[in-house]
């Protein structure tokens, strides 16, 4: 008996569908729902707790920075350094804002969107992350470096201002050699920060972004 190619294809299609549907029989899945709900809730709580701890840690670090520069602003008599202290406090506040804004954007993952919408959303998120890491030099390293530079340049001779605070005095780079040494150290530190951010953008985020763009193209192509 001759079978037409169309019928052959239909038979093959049905066979493939059967193979696919029978593949479920290779594993037995049993779920204890009551216990599962408890485990899921514990998991949700644990994730939320971890996020809260991370947020508190990051904000605390910035607040400690603000307090230190607030104290220096109050204590140090040098006008230019005082100005740098105000800039530093503003910069710490900006870092808190920027980091919270970025986290808010990244946490909006809605997995019940269609594949196309989900990919579009992921592309935007990844692009924002890449931009944030790429531009770290401008919003993170450079403002902080300039503020530190002004801070160090502004440091004068304490006796000119009748200022005595042995603890702060011993910590500040007051001599020219100490100033140069500190500035070289800061240059390396911020250079490294820029490099590590660029590296994360190029090695981690951009390849993912490219993958998302490829899948979007695959989807749109007829």
């Amino acid at each position: 008996m001759n079978v037409s190619p169309q019928n052959l294809n239909k038979m093959l299609e049905q066979e493939i569908k059967d193979i696919w549907s029978n593949s479920s029989r290779t594993a037995k899945i049993s779920i204890e729902t009551n216990q599962l709900v408890e485990e899921l809730n514990a998991n949700v709580n644990s994730i939320q707790k971890k996020i809260r701890i991370r947020d508190v840690r990051e904000i605390t670090a910035s607040i400690i920075g603000m307090l230190i520069f607030g104290y220096l602003l109050y204590e140090i008599p040098f006008p230019i350094t005082k100005l740098a202290c105000s800039f530093s406090i503003a910069w710490f506040a900006f870092v808190i804002y920027k980091s919270r804004k970025s986290k808010k954007q990244n946490s909006k993952t809605n997995l019940s969107l269609s594949m196309t919408e989900q990919l579009a959303h992921q592309e935007i998120t990844m692009q924002q992350q890449a931009n944030l890491l790429d531009s770290a030099a401008y919003w993170y390293a450079l403002p902080s470096f300039i503020t530190n530079l002004i801070f160090i340049i502004g440091l004068g001779n304490p006796t000119d201002y009748n200022w005595t605070n042995s603890i702060v005095n011993s910590m500040l780079p007051l001599s020219i050699n100490f100033k140069i040494f500190t500035l070289i150290g800061l240059t390396f530190f911020y250079g490294f920060t820029i490099w590590i951010n660029k590296r994360a953008a190029n090695k981690e985020v951009k390849p993912l972004l490219e993958n998302i763009k490829t899948i979007k193209k695959q989807l749109q192509k007829e």
Partner: protein
């Protein structure tokens, strides 16, 4: 005493666990195992269930979550893309010894052929093999019915060309 949400969740899992696991088996890439992906899908279903709006059927919604979780895992978009701690309440026991060897072999061929498809084609063929109509595949993927029809024609051809000599 189970509340309404828990009862709905139980019904969803009862009805969909096999098809979720089938899809997870295709997407899982070492060190991620199908069970890790399955667990993540179940977790995301539970997390999103309260906000489920009945714009589409619950089955379509489950497919959307499954495909999105699996695709994210494959693309390594999830930072926690490593082996997770297994839930004690989910037991997945292989029962391969009860299955005919030729059936297992056929599934191996199918898996091999699906792995030659790209990410988009894989998602579409899995939905198609689950016998979903184009309209539902369109809702899950966000493409039009016509677009799906055109794509499916090509994907089916690719799959047939790959699997036919293996099944003979």
């Amino acid at each position: 005493m189970k509340n309404k949400l828990e009862r709905t969740f139980e019904q969803i899992l009862d009805k969909n666990k096999q098809k979720i696991y089938r899809i997870c088996r295709i997407y899982a890439v070492a060190p991620i195992e199908p069970q890790d992906l399955f667990q993540e899908v179940v977790f995301q279903i539970w997390k999103s269930l309260e906000s489920f709006k009945s714009k589409s059927s619950i089955d379509t919604w489950v497919y959307k979550i499954t495909i999105n979780v699996c695709l994210r895992s494959k693309l390594k978009l999830d930072k926690k893309n490593t082996k997770t701690e297994r839930f004690e309440s989910i037991h997945i026991v292989p029962i391969a010894q009860e299955i005919d060897a030729s059936e297992l072999e056929k599934f191996k061929y199918l898996k091999e052929c699906i792995s030659t498809l790209n990410h988009t084609e894989t998602s579409l063929i899995l939905l198609y093999l689950d016998d979903l109509p184009y309209k539902e595949i369109a809702t899950i993927t966000g493409l039009s019915d016509n677009h799906i029809a055109v794509k499916m024609k090509r994907i089916r051809k690719k799959l047939f060309e790959c699997i036919t000599p293996k099944l003979k």
